[in-house]
Structures are given as structure tokens and as C-alpha cells.
Subunit: 423 residues, 2 copies
Amino acid sequence: LQRTCSSLKSFAVGFVTKIWMFLVKSWNIGVDDPKKFVHCVKVGLALSVVSLFYYMRPLYDGVGGNAMWAVMTVVVALEYTVGATLCKCINRAMATAVAGSLGIGIHWVASQTGEKFEPIIIGTSVFIFAAATTFSRFIPAVKARFDYGALIFILTFSLVSVSGYRVDKLWTLAHQRVSTIAIGTSLCVLVSMLFCPVWAGYQLHQQTIRNLENLANSLKGHVAKYFTNEEASTIHGEINKKIQGYKCVLNSKQSEESMVNFAKWEPAHGKFSFGYPWKQYLKIGAAARKCAYCIDNINSCINSEMQAPEYLKKHIEEECMRLSSYSSEVLKELAITIKTMKTSSEIELLVGDMNFAVQELHNALKALPSHFTQPQSPPQTVDDHPDADPEGLKRPAYASIIEILPLAALVTLLTETVVRTEE
Amino acid sequence: LQRTCSSLKSFAVGFVTKIWMFLVKSWNIGVDDPKKFVHCVKVGLALSVVSLFYYMRPLYDGVGGNAMWAVMTVVVALEYTVGATLCKCINRAMATAVAGSLGIGIHWVASQTGEKFEPIIIGTSVFIFAAATTFSRFIPAVKARFDYGALIFILTFSLVSVSGYRVDKLWTLAHQRVSTIAIGTSLCVLVSMLFCPVWAGYQLHQQTIRNLENLANSLKGHVAKYFTNEEASTIHGEINKKIQGYKCVLNSKQSEESMVNFAKWEPAHGKFSFGYPWKQYLKIGAAARKCAYCIDNINSCINSEMQAPEYLKKHIEEECMRLSSYSSEVLKELAITIKTMKTSSEIELLVGDMNFAVQELHNALKALPSHFTQPQSPPQTVDDHPDADPEGLKRPAYASIIEILPLAALVTLLTETVVRTEE
């Protein structure tokens, strides 16, 4: 009995510890980004405000029992960013209006044909419109912008046209639905825009800057790690985290696309005017991902079992370090350029430096064969063949760095387009 | 006047053509995958069936005016795959039940405190629960599985607890809401499972196979293109499309994760038993993405301005072609292994061949320096230095191929785990 008791106790302790760990971890998500706490408060606030419709007699009488549509709109449409909220609200309002009027129209046509055919006509139209709208949601162009609108269209259309069969005052129903949704959407838009707004565009802007900085740190860290192989394994925590920074860039495509989509719905705010070229961020993102793929390849070179001998590494260590530091300088400068939205005069200098460093690395690589046949080479290189092999295996790291350069140049170009359209 | 007329006419023609093109393109989406058409029919059918609640007096009287909750459930919860539908339905049903009972409980507590405090207690509880649940949606573990459930929880809880202030028969309201949602969800589940079901697990399985085949074709095509540079530019259409196949693998992470999530909700179907190790597909997907990154690097080597001289290419062409063909054979064999879910006896042979091809390529690279200093080398190689440089620039393509190998081996291991857990 005592044993069961103690095992039960340890189980309970383990369970409580697990839950506690989960809560602490969740809490840290909010501490890292206090905007998330603010968003929760906003949702609670908006819901409390919309509940007033139930507590105040005159408001309640105005919209009837349909006050719940307003509550529903707030719950469903109040999203984290302003862009997402606007996108959902506009979609919801437009779809409700269109579907509502179409539903009333169909109902009127059906009621003219007599009681016998009414259910058939309404049922068929619901079937056709629902199937067609569902199909439109498979089209990428529609899905990206109007997915939610299509859903609400089906919903409202079927509700209105089907309710018409039972509810006598269909016009009142449609009117109440539209007005409650209007109340809900305007409340959502007000709360999300006036009370600590989180702009999708600004988030995208910040994420792009952060990604470029991560790439810069990662690139520098990887090359440094390659040349100080032994010590690197003892480095922990902070630095290792910096080196792995490129990983969050690898799969950034979908989140960037959705943010660009939301950013397009947002009005002018802060430094971002209306019609800001958000699509350029997609291009920058694509270039950044290309860089990240290169760094990923460098990473697998580092972790590969086939390593170059030390003396070969020594020979080009300096050039490689310089090249990687210039490349990461360029990336950092690009991040600053995007941050300040001004063409940097330094960037061309840095790109020049970088290209010069590439040339130096080339020269160093060219010098390799002759270097080893000369007397000042280390004793291991008497036999030339074994060197040729690891050299080939070791190259990828440099080659990948070299590959990054045209990409960095591409990023430069892209940023400048952004900056120019901005000025 | 005639000019305006003709310009208006051309505008109208252009507009109609554009719409026509859009419709044709959309139609082809469905033709490529007829399951999408079937899904649209399913949605229309389910909506028509649920509309019966309005047309039949006894059914309508049974659930009252709340029949619309059933319509709503069908519109919102009927998704393309069975897994997604089940996930939404279970989330919706559970969240409604929990939130409904909690709402009634809170309402009972509030009603005991007297009319003055009632709105305050209800308002505060709505605020607290809404904020807390909204916060839980930021936690990745909750978001992946219960995002929709959290939304419905907020919705139902605020509806029930707030309605209590006006509606006298709160119990009837809650009861009707639960029963209509039960009707809606069971209809959704039946329609999606019995009528041409689309299983998320099967889709994931097919996509993984397709991705591996795409990688195999892409790898082979890229290496072939590298060695037949000039002719490649004249190749169009089909082959070029094959070569670009790796691109759809690059950004497959999110779709794979969501499909794995949905697949976990699905019951046993076809070859997939309950508790099938879906997570292994994520690992295979990660390895496939690594391969795709390598191919992307090979691609930028091909498009790079810095190209190796022809005679150097010739020297290792044979070995590279052999290596790439063995590698793509291994990938294809992996695809077949996954397809048939049986360990292939050939795969180890093929991996052996592939490793042998790697060794041969190493040997060819080793032989390079001595080759050029011997008399049978072509006349351009008299001066040794310029060769060393392009050699370095040309290497990445081979190096990347070599890098693919450990990855392919990783994939092998992973597939075997899958197959073994399956047998």
C-alpha cells in the first residue's frame, strides 16, 4: 500500500511539474513579446464592450436576439495584426452584403413560382452557389485574398435563402444580420487600430531586418567555426544560437507571403505610405532564403567527416575570414539600409571590398599548387596527390561563400529598388 | 466618336478574354485533380441535406430557430481532407460542450449574487476567459491542434453566459446549440468519410513519393544540363519542368506539418493502420529539403558566370554522370520503397554502387594535377595556374553532389524505420 502511495505521489509531483513547466514556457512567450499580452487584453475588452448590447435594454431592442452576430464577428474577426483584422472584416462585410442581397433575390424569384417549386429552386441554388464558391477557394489567387469572404458568402447565402422558407420577415432578418455584423466589424477595426496597433507591415519590416542580421551573424560564425574547429565544440549557448540563426530564414516563405497579403490591406502608418511596395519584401525574402541555403551547405561541410588538412586551412584562413567578415558587413549594412530606408553610401564601398576579398581568395587558391612545390611548404606536402583530394572536399565551403556574393549583390539591387520607390 | 467606340470595344474584348483565361485556368485546377470537383459537390450536398431541417416541419420544430447552427457547422467544418474535417468537428463539439457547461455554471453563480452584481460578474468572467484562451492560441503546441477549438470555446462561452442575461430558458438554448452542432458535425463526418473520402495521410504519402521522384529527376537533369551546356538552352517545356521539380520541395515544410497533424486524427484506412508513424514523414521531408538545398546550389553553379573550361569538364564528365544517375536511382528506389512499404533488397546494392561512384569521382579528381602535367593533356594546359582557378570554381557542383550522399543515406535509414514499424 505504501508503495502505491509513494508511486502515486511521485506521479502527481511529476504531473504538476510538467504542467508548471508548460505554464512557465507559455508565460515566456508573452514576456518575449508583450504585444501578445496586449492582444489578449484587446480581445477581452472588445468582447466585454459588445456584451453591452445584451445588458442595455435600448441597444438590445434595436438589434433583437441577433446581437449574437456582433459577438461572433468580434470573436472571429479580431486578429493579431491590423492587416489581418481589416482583411477579415472587409471580407466578412462584403460577403455578407452580397450574399444577403443575392439570397433575398433568389427567395423572391422562388416565391413567385408557387409553393410547390419553392424548396426545389432554393435547394438547387444553394447547391450550385455553395459548390461554385467552394471551388473558387481552390484557386490560389482567390484563396490568398478572399478565402474567408468565400466562406462567409456560402454561410450567409444559405442562411438567408433557407430561412426565407420559415421566417416571414426575411427583410428584417437580413437587415439585422447586416447591421450587427457592421457593428461587430467596426468595433474590431477600432479596437485593433486605436489601441496599441500591431501592423503587419511593420512586423514584416522588422522580420526582414532580423533575418538579414541573422544571416550575417550566421555566415561569420560558420566560417569562424570552420577554422577553429576544436575550440568551437566547447562554445555553447549564446554563440551557438547565433550561428543557427539562419535556420529561421529557411522556412520563412509562407509567413512572409501572408504578412505581405495583410500589409496590403493596411492604411498608411508610420514610415509606410499607402501603396508601399510590399512585394519587394518577397524578393528580398527569396534572396535571403537563397543565402540561407548556401549557409546550410557550409554547415554540412563543417559537420562532414571529410575534412581538409590543417595546413591547407591555414593557407586560406585569412582570406576566407576577411571575405566572410566583408560579406556579413554587407548583409548588416543592407539590414541598416532597410531599417533607415535610405540609400547607404557605404554599401557600394563594402560591396567593392567584398569583391576585392573574393579576388584575393581566388589568388590564394591559384597560388596553392606552386606554394606546395616550393621549399617553404610544410613537410607533409612532399607527396602531392593526397593534398589534391582533401582540397577538393574542402572547397565547398569557400565555393558556397563565393556563391553568396551574386546573391548579396542581388539583395543590394533589390533593396535599392525598395529605397528608391520609397524616397 | 468612332475612336472611343473602337477603344471601348477593344477594352471589352480584352476584359472578356482575361476573364475567360481566368476561368479556363481555374477549370484546369479541377481537371488536374478531380477530387476537388468531388469536394465541391460534397459541400453542396451536405448543405442541401442540412437545409431539410428548414423544409420539414417536424425536424424544424425539434431544434427551433437554431437550425442555423447546423448549417453553420456544415459550412465551417467540412474541409477537403477527412483529417481536417475530423479535427474541426471534434474541436468544435468538445469546445462547445465545455464552454456551454462552464457558461451555465458561471451564469448560475452570477444569478445567486443578485441582479446588481450579475452583469459585473458575467462581464469579468467573459473578459478573463477570453483573454486567457486567446493567449493559449499563441502557444505553438496548442495552436497546432486546438486553435479552432479555442476560438469556438470563446464564442460559445461568451454567447451562453451573455445570453443568460436575456434568455430565460438558458438550458434550452444550450441544449439546442449542442444538439444542432452535433447534427452538423455528424453530417460533416459522414459525408467526408463515406462519399469519396480524401485522406490527409494518403495525400501526405503521395506527396512524399512525388517529392522524392522530383528530386531524382531534378538531380539527374541538372548534372546532365551542366555537361551539355549549349544544347540545354534549346531544351524547352517538359524537360525543363522536370529539372525545376526540386523547387516545390524547398517550401514543403508547413504543408507537411499540417498534413501530419490532420493524419493523426484519421482512423485506420487502406494500408495505414491506427498509430501509423506519421512523424517519420516529417523526418523524410526534412532530409528531402536538405537535398533540395543542395540541388539549388548546383543550380546556381550552372547559372553562374564563372564556368570551368571544357577540357576539365570532359575529364570528370563520365564519373559525374554516373554518380548522378546512381544517386537518382537511389532516390527513385526510396520512392518505390515508400510506395510499396516493403524494404527493398536493391536499395543496399544501389547505395553501394553510389558510394563506389563517389570513390571513382574522388580518384578522377585526384588524378587531375598529374594528368595536366603529362604530355597527353590538351595544349591549353601548358600554364598551370589559370587551370587551378576555374577548377576551384567548378568544384561546387561536384561537391554538392557529394554532399547529397550522406543525406540520401539518412533518407535510407529513415525509410527503413518507417517500413520496419509498418511491417
